[in-house]
Structures are given as structure tokens and as C-alpha cells.
């Protein structure tokens, strides 16, 4: 029950493998390595067969202007993501507070907002915002759409995290005479944060990937730029679609890995904090 026992239970959950299990794992390891290598070779061979590694298709990446466009696209993606991440976490916190309110109308209204924007397909939301309000400024249609959708999801994550704190914690705080805001801020939220963190970060990863929807409303983010590059035919070898995918795709993957690494780091820091407390106090 206590958040501080997690490191201990992590190893308890699994039996340490015995000699036979270890041998089995080694066989599985080798087999999967062979499988993955085969798959990669198949992909490479197919693409090569279709002439996708023809240097003429890749020449385009040598131009400074093209490189600059990719960097600009990346920056645009990061700008939309940064704004959407900050706004959606703020909105999520506000909506969660509203959903946990003692006042029925507030609770009701916030729940309605959360359910509506969670159910609404993000693409429709972004396109609607674009045509209705932001035809000249697609970035804000994208940011607002991402904020409303992801803010609602974050609200659900925060609300369920707070509700998952054992009931006695809140009761004990009320019994001391704390007010609701004090109970939230000093007892419930601090205990909820640790369990919420992984889900919040995965939702941020989703937010990051969904910035690519901006290309539909002509926001010049990474995917838009990629599509523009790919639709200019090369002299001899046709459109460089696959090469663009092979360049843009890994950039998204790298960004997501960075976010995940950040999450790990935050989590590890929290855990180390807990362990430090444990060891100095014991």
C-alpha cells in the first residue's frame, strides 16, 4: 500500500530464473535475434528491389534548403507540442479539480466537458477549429485541439490517481480540521502523483505524435515538410517517398524515446528520494 515499498515488490513479483529457465531464455534470445535480422533483411531487400536505395532518390537531402526545411519542421512540431503539453496538463489539473468538486453543477459540467472532448475524434476537432476560427493561424487550431483532447484525458488520469489514494488518508486529514484544498494539496495529490506519472507521460507521447495531424490543416510541422519534400519528383528515379519516411520516422521515434527517457529519469529520481528517506531513517 505504501508508495515506498515499490522497489522491494518489483523483484518479488518474479521468481528468479533457475538454470533450465536461463537456458530456455538463451534459446529464445538467439531465435528472436535471427527472426528480427531476417525481417530487417526482407525489408531492405524489398525496398532495394524497388530501387528505393537509388542514390538519385536520396540526393534531395544534400541541399541546404531541404535540410533547413526539416529543421524548421522539427521546430514547428516541438513548438506545437510544447504549448499543447503545458496547456493540456494545466487544463487536466483544472478539470480534475472540477470533477472532484463538492459542488454538483461544477462536477457535472467538468465531467461533461471531459467526456465530450475525450469522445470527439481529434482530427475532426482540429479541422473544425481550423475552419471555424483559425484559418489564418493553423498552429493554434492544432494546439487548441490537442489541448482539449489531451487535457480531458489527463483530467481522467489525475482524477483516478487521486481517487486511488486510500480513503483513510483524506479522512484523517479532514478529522484534523483541514479544508478541502489543503487535503488535496498536501495529502492526496502528492501521494497520487507517483502512481499517475507513467500514464501522464504516455499521454504526452501521444500528444507529441498527434502534432503530425497538423499537416492536414497546412501547419508546417515535420510531417507537412516531409510530404512537401516527397512530392517533388527527382530527375530520374520518381518520388522520394520511402527515403523521406526513413528520415522523418526516426526523428519522431527519437523524440518519443527522449520523452520516455525523461519519464524514467523523473521516476527514478522519485524512487531514489524514497529510498534515501528509507535508509537514513532506518
Amino acid at each position: 500500500m505504501s508508495p515506498f515499498n515499490r522497489t522491494a515488490t518489483a523483484s518479488v513479483l518474479y521468481d528468479a530464473p533457475g538454470p533450465r529457465a536461463r537456458a530456455r531464455y538463451r534459446v529464445f534470445g538467439v531465435l528472436s535475434l535471427i527472426g528480427v535480422a531476417g525481417l530487417l533483411w526482407f525489408v531492405y531487400a524489398t525496398l532495394d528491389d524497388k530501387g528505393q536505395f537509388n542514390p538519385a532518390l536520396w540526393d534531395v537531402f544534400q541541399y541546404n534548403t531541404v535540410q533547413q526545411r526539416i529543421v524548421d519542421g522539427l521546430l514547428a512540431t516541438l513548438e506545437a507540442f510544447g504549448l499543447a503539453a503545458a496547456f493540456s496538463l494545466t487544463l487536466g489539473a483544472l478539470l480534475a479539480a472540477g470533477q472532484l468538486s463538492d459542488h454538483k453543477p461544477v462536477r457535472w459540467a467538468c465531467t461533461a466537458v471531459v467526456q465530450f472532448f475525450r469522445a470527439m475524434p481529434l482530427l475532426i476537432l482540429i479541422v473544425a477549429l481550423y475552419y471555424a476560427f483559425f484559418a489564418t493561424d493553423p498552429m493554434w487550431a492544432l494546439v487548441l485541439g490537442l489541448t482539449l483532447y489531451n487535457g480531458s484525458v489527463q483530467a481522467e488520469i489525475i482524477r483516478s490517481g487521486v481517487n486511488a489514494v486510500p480513503r483513510g488518508q483524506g479522512e484523517a486529514a479532514y478529522a484534523l480540521g483541514m479544508r478541502k484544498t489543503q487535503v488535496m494539496a498536501s495529502i492526496l495529490v502528492p501521494q497520487a502523483v507517483r502512481s499517475m506519472l507513467p500514464s501522464m507521460i504516455s499521454q504526452l507521447v501521444v500528444t507529441l505524435k498527434d502534432t503530425s495531424l497538423g499537416f492536414i490543416i497546412t501547419y508546417h510541422e515535420l510531417l507537412f515538410v516531409g510530404k512537401a519534400i516527397a512530392s517533388q519528383p527527382t530527375n530520374s528515379a520518381g518520388f522520394p517517398y520511402i527515403p523521406v519516411v526513413l528520415v522523418i520516422g526516426p526523428i519522431y521515434i527519437a523524440l518519443c524515446l527522449l520523452l520516455t527517457a525523461l519519464a524514467r529519469w523523473i521516476e527514478a529520481r522519485g524512487r531514489r528520494g524514497a529510498n534515501r528517506r528509507t535508509s537514513t531513517a532506518a
Binding site: 500500500m1 515506498f4 484523517a172 483541514m178 501521494q191 531513517a281
Partner: protein, 257 residues
């Protein structure tokens, strides 16, 4: 029957907690039925009764962790406020100790006892810490001040919980089965703290099945069944000669094993 001087002074004192015609339902279940109860300054009242009879519910209505449907509860002459700042202020005057301790898991023992004083009573931190250390010493866990609750035994945690409640300087303390979640060897260390508290004149409402504690520390035993107070008496009279069949039946069950 001759009353001791202590009991004389208690019966002369003004009622501190008064419940009149208190009713509460959980859906169709009538958990509290026309409860009338007066608890005097310095009195120690033990509530016993079968599981589900409404003991916890009664206890929790006194600091409004449970609301009531009808009736009236007053503490030191003031009716229990329904909400807001007044309710919070009243709760500081009613200490509560839970079966599962409910210490704040993310705070040290010291911080558990300091927090309420600083956040609610607005005591300066250094004073609050001094008070906290004194209280922790008084309940015998002063050496554990910098540990986290999960590192303490159940008995130690419950004594910290008592210290945490005392730090608010309450007028009355509620105990809901404070020793039921403890291993047998830890029960006495908690009961000893409670006995001391009773001897110091604290007004206490204690839900417990510890007959030894009831006999040695209580002024009055209330027997509850099906949402009613069926019988009340001094501990000696109640345990040796229960009047109602429900009480006789209940006592025979808990005493014969």
C-alpha cells in the same frame, strides 16, 4: 452502589457532547435509530456491540465524517456546523483515532504530528515541532520521529496517530477500534497510552472489545445493537449483570473463548 469522587465530579460536569434523536440511513438500512446520548466533560465512554450495529457510524457522526438525516449534535454547547470553515474548526476540537491508523504515508512521523498544528491551528513551525516531540515522547515513540509510517510497527503507528490527534488540543477524542488491527503483543502499549489519557481527564469515546480496558478506564459502557443503544451501565455492572438478552447473548459470545 457508591460512586468514586472522580465519578461524582464527572456527573456534576456539563455535558460536552450531546446527541439527541439522531437518525441515519444507508439506503434502506436504518443504521442509527433515535440515538440520545450525553457525554460529560472528562468522561470515558466505551461503545460495544455486535458487528454492523452502528458503532463506527455513531462515532463518526460526532465529527461529521458521516452526516446525519435528522436529530441534533452539539459539542460544548455549539451545534455541529454543516460545512466550511466552522466545521473544520470544530473538527480540530474532536480528535479521531482510526482502526487502520491512517498516518500520512508520504510524511515522516514528526511531520504527521506537526502538519495539523501548522496548517490548521497556524502554530509557528518551531513551536509545533517542540509540541510534536513532547507528544511523541509522551506516547513513547520519540525515537522514531524521523522515520516514515511504513517503517513502524502497528502499535507504534497507532501511538503516533494518538499524538497527531492530541497535537490539535482536542476537547474530546474518538477511538474507533484502535487496537483491532494490531498484533496481540502490541495491543497493550496502545491501551496503556489510552489509559494514561483517561487518567489525565480527557473526554473519550472508545469503540472497543477490550474488556480489560473498559473495566479499568471506562466510566460507562454503552451496548449497541441494530442501530440503537440497548443498554448502558458502569463497566462492572454491565459485565457482571447485563440486563438485556441481546447484551447477555453478545457477552457470552465474546467472553467464552
Amino acid at each position: 452502589m457508591t460512586e468514586s469522587p472522580v465519578e461524582d465530579s464527572i456527573s456534576a460536569a456539563a455535558p460536552l457532547v450531546v446527541l439527541s434523536k439522531v437518525n441515519k440511513h444507508y439506503g434502506a438500512l436504518h443504521v442509527l435509530q433515535d440515538i440520545d446520548l450525553e457525554i460529560r466533560q472528562g468522561e470515558v465512554v466505551v461503545l460495544i456491540g455486535p458487528s454492523g450495529s452502528g458503532k463506527s457510524t455513531l462515532c463518526r457522526t460526532i465529527n461529521r465524517l458521516e452526516t446525519i438525516d435528522s436529530g441534533r449534535i452539539t459539542i460544548d454547547g455549539h451545534p455541529l456546523p454543516a460545512e466550511g470553515r466552522e466545521l473544520a474548526r470544530l473538527r480540530t476540537e474532536v480528535g479521531m483515532v482510526f482502526q487502520n491508523f491512517n498516518l500520512f504515508a508520504h510524511k515522516t512521523v514528526l511531520e504527521n504530528v506537526v502538519m495539523g498544528q501548522v496548517k490548521v491551528r497556524k502554530v509557528i513551525r518551531s513551536h509545533a515541532e517542540k509540541t510534536a516531540r513532547e507528544l511523541l515522547d509522551r506516547v513513547g515513540v520519540g525515537a522514531q520521529a524521523d522515520k516514515y509510517p511504513a517503517q513502524l510497527s502497528g502499535g507504534q503507528q497507532q501511538r503516533v496517530a494518538i499524538a497527531r490527534a492530541l497535537a490539535m488540543k482536542p476537547k474530546v477524542m474518538l477511538f474507533d477500534e484502535p487496537t483491532s488491527a494490531l498484533d496481540p503483543e502490541m495491543v497493550n502499549e496502545v491501551l496503556e497510552v489510552m489509559r494514561q489519557l483517561a487518567a489525565d481527564g480527557m473526554t473519550m469515546v472508545v469503540v472497543t472489545h477490550e474488556m480489560g480496558f473498559a473495566r479499568s478506564a471506562a466510566n460507562r459502557v454503552l451496548f449497541m445493537a441494530d442501530g440503537r443503544i440497548v443498554e448502558q451501565n458502569t463497566p462492572d455492572a454491565f459485565f457482571t449483570a447485563p440486563r438485556s438478552d441481546r447484551a447477555k447473548d453478545f457477552l457470552s459470545k465474546i467472553l467464552h473463548h
